[in-house]
Amino acid sequence: MILPRFDVLVPETVDEACAMLSDHADEGVRLLAGGTDLLVDLRRPIIPQHVPRCDGCPTHPEGRVLSTTECAPSDTDPLMASGGSIRTALEDPRHAAPAYLVSLHKLDQLRGIERLADGGMRIGALTSISEIERSPDVREGWTALAEGADSLGSPLVRNRGTLGGNIANARPAADMAVPTIALGGTLTLRGSSGTRNIPAKDFPRGPGLSVIKQDEILTDIHYPPPVPYSGSAYYKLANRKALEISTVGVAVWLTLKEPGGPVADVQVALGAAGPVPILAESVRGVLIGKVPNEETLLRAARAAAGDSRPIDDHRGSAWYRVQMVEQLTLRLLRAVLKRIQEGQ
């Protein structure tokens, strides 16, 4: 792999990092965390006219474009039409060949899993996926996130990859972003003008695009405290048992009013089933207030499938993905209910 020439800046504080992002905006500056995505994206292709693949692109499902003129935003997809497109990113040399990378590796303050007084959890954006995978707290209280970590890439990727990187990249298949959305996670973005918190589900705008501003850094992710009679799960469907980007990923979080009682709340998030991770809102109407039985669960699963908007690409067809959303949602709902039952 050949990387373009860039300079690497190593801030010692978050504010320093934000300042670097705004100072060098004109010349092109990008954030480097684990590097498992960025350094791959930045590499120069062997055939100069080829640009690297862009995952989840609805107009080029085969994942490769010959030149930026081939890539046009889709008019039919509101997310794509609303505020930018991959084309813009590709056309912009500041994105494809930035003059600066800001490497966050010295920002230890952004690492760590912290249990909060109210029972919630805050995870620093630079926390490695491996650390999350190994945390008994995460596995017990936010199982879907631990299962996302289990399934991501390989141990080597997990050692290097970060929670923040996985979420900030805004890829529709992201194995940490999808559970985070189902678990009601909140992202803290810090920029020169201040700090803001946004729900994880509102972060991505399109494949590889998010609401993050030029000078902002995702610093930590907050997960609400576990409520009684709740559980979560995540399943990643792929061809191989490691090193995969999911064909479809489903995260389910559910809570009952009381054991054996009706559903108090539920969130189903879908990965690789649209240009961004999708919150299957229709499931809520089917399940909330109902005592879950097999028939209701099946209807809920079908509702999730109805909310999905997958494309045909080289990993799978839309036809298959829709069916898998249904199948996986059904299984995960059953699994979570079983977990809640066993937890009593």
Partner: protein, 792 residues
Amino acid sequence: MSNHRILNTRTPRVDAADKATGKALYTDDLKRPCLLTGAILHSPLAHARILNIDTSRAEKLSGVRAVVTHREAGTTPYGVSPARYDETVFCHDKVRYVGDEIAAVAAIDLDTALEATSLIKVDFEELPTVLDGRTAMDEGQPQLHEMYKNNICAQVHWHFGDIEKGRHESHLIRTDRLSSKMQDAAFLEPQSILAETSSSGNLTMWSSTQAPHYIQRTLAMALNIPLHKVRVIKPAVGGGFGPKASCSSAELATCLLAIKTGQPVKLTFDREQVFLHSRARHQFFHTMTTGVKKDGSLAFLEHECVLDGGAYASFGIATIYYSGSLLGGPYRLKNMKYDGHRVVTNKPACGAQRGHGAVIARALFEVQLDRIAEELGMDPIELRLKNVMEAGETTCNELFVSSFGMREALEAVRDSAAWKKKRSSGGKTRRDGKGIGAACGFFVSGAGYPIYRSRTYHCTVVTKVDEVGGGVTVSSGAADIGQGSDTVLAMITAEELGLSLDEVRVLSGDSSLSVDLGAYSSRTTLMTGHACREAALDVKKQILEAVAGMLEIPSETLDLRDGQVVSLAGELDFSKIRKEYLQEHKGFSDLPDAPQLTFAEASRIAFLELGTIIGTGKYRPPPLGGSFKGAKVGTSPAFGCSAQIAEVTVDLKTGEITVGHITGAHDCGYAINVTQVEGQMQGSMMMGMGEALMEQIIYDNKGRIVNANLAEYKIPTALDMPHLDAIIIESNEPSGPYGAKEVGEGAIMPVIPSILNAIYDATGVRIDELPVTPERLIAALRSKNDKREADA
């Protein structure tokens, strides 16, 4: 069973420690002073005429030392088979696939070299493309090459026996199909080349290659350099599996750059270039019609196939023969008709990959046998046992099997996996998602003829005894690409000379050491092993004759064992030799004092008596095969055979397939190194499983590879692979050294069909398109259910 000292053991490989410590040097690890870096300009288009190539800007870039195109390289045609020399070093009139090489640059570093390639301006006139092998032959399609009318690169039409007679004898006839995708060998080490010239015009090229001899010849021919001034050296190689068995444009280009600049040049492929170069598994479309008699014995096989081989011939002319010829065994088949077409399309060229053209053909045939067994109500292994050949028989296409453990292999897997217990009864009921399937395989142990028409020896070995005594050096052009041939040569030599492995040095993979056709068609153990044994025996004879001469006894009374010379006829008075040796070595500490004469002393005295002791060995197969057209391809001095059982679990709702266990039995004649034989079997199981379930090159509508990386081109990881049991069958091959024959490729043959048969057992559906991804399985299950509902 073995009465050998070193052979048939689990001796660790001679190069294992170096590989475990990072000491082993692969081509990209090599350094040279004043080394330049090479880069290639690849075509971005799948099919276009070249109108003009302007290298002026590239040449002017600071740090660039040479830019070469067809103008410097010339347009001497080359390729793999002289019958199909359809390539030139660089494209001159047309580009024929995305990745086709147009130019190369040598510069002070990679960055400069790559930048220079991007400054080369090529004017193209785009041409319409041919991307589908199934329609490439149709009238009106764009032609890739003048010489391939209708894009047919090679075709084979055979008719052995009498198909019509076979039809009449058949109780049951069925027709089945199977297609696959182009696949990649996915060796872990990308191709890498380092070329350098001497002031007297000698060219030396180190390359990650399987066949130094063939590459040496191609370099000399295409670059117009006398053969004796070209030397090809194979350092440690990180896997070959076929694509590295022929000379590439990259190798030619790197040599040309070294010649032009007068400096050493290194060029290492990026992983993407490995995919662009390919020369890997063809895409196959097979249709087979098979008839059996009432008792299950085969009556006839009518086989038709189209192979999509990408833009150039490469090994394709052999591939199309192997697809047909290797179905002549392992079963008795009197009547076989075969019509095969190997076409060209605007995609990277395909060549030989483990198992060559026989893998997908074998897969379909073995699946078809299963379907026949089901229709007849016979157990699939029993059906096969009914039909297997025995040693001493000849196939209908005149392949003679001199040793054949097919029956033993089948019985071994049947008994070891408790086949009878696990297999669902009567073949009618399907377990819900759990299945077990069996299959067999058949393959050559070294191609009977070299790629170029010649009566050359296929290999020679030169074994030299240290003049100082004590050790020997085995020199061979053979290529250890990870299969362990160096260890085999060391073991054979050590065995014959009564030495330990530490006393034997192996120098190999260098075209200047000896002739060896290289590591392809699974030839090295049988052929080079044979020559190595001959050389060792030659050396032994000379040493014993020298010792006998000095002691005035007949040399037949002496032998070499356990590092010593032993007398087979009573006491041996060798005091004369010892005295001289001790005298010569005054001051040394580890002097021999054993009551026996040591090899060190004997070999030293032999030098003093005779001069340098050199033994040579050589091997070339006897004339093989019939007299029909193409008879030579698929011939071999021996044939390996295998049987395998695969157990799978299928998630019937998602289509996810987990292979739980694979048990394979392979007849390798005689296992010279037991661990290595098992390793080859297990490696074959992995590649076969990957090809069955997940490996496919994906192209877009512009002929570009979409998944040219190891994340999207999926090979099994350690979590995907199950436990692999390897059972060794030894049928004692008469033409093999100690009875040994191949294992490197034959063991892949049963993998795909045993998995497909297991999937059928688990689900009740047959898939006729590889790879069987979860989605493809779900689609098949869905259409089976739809059909059932429609029929209801």
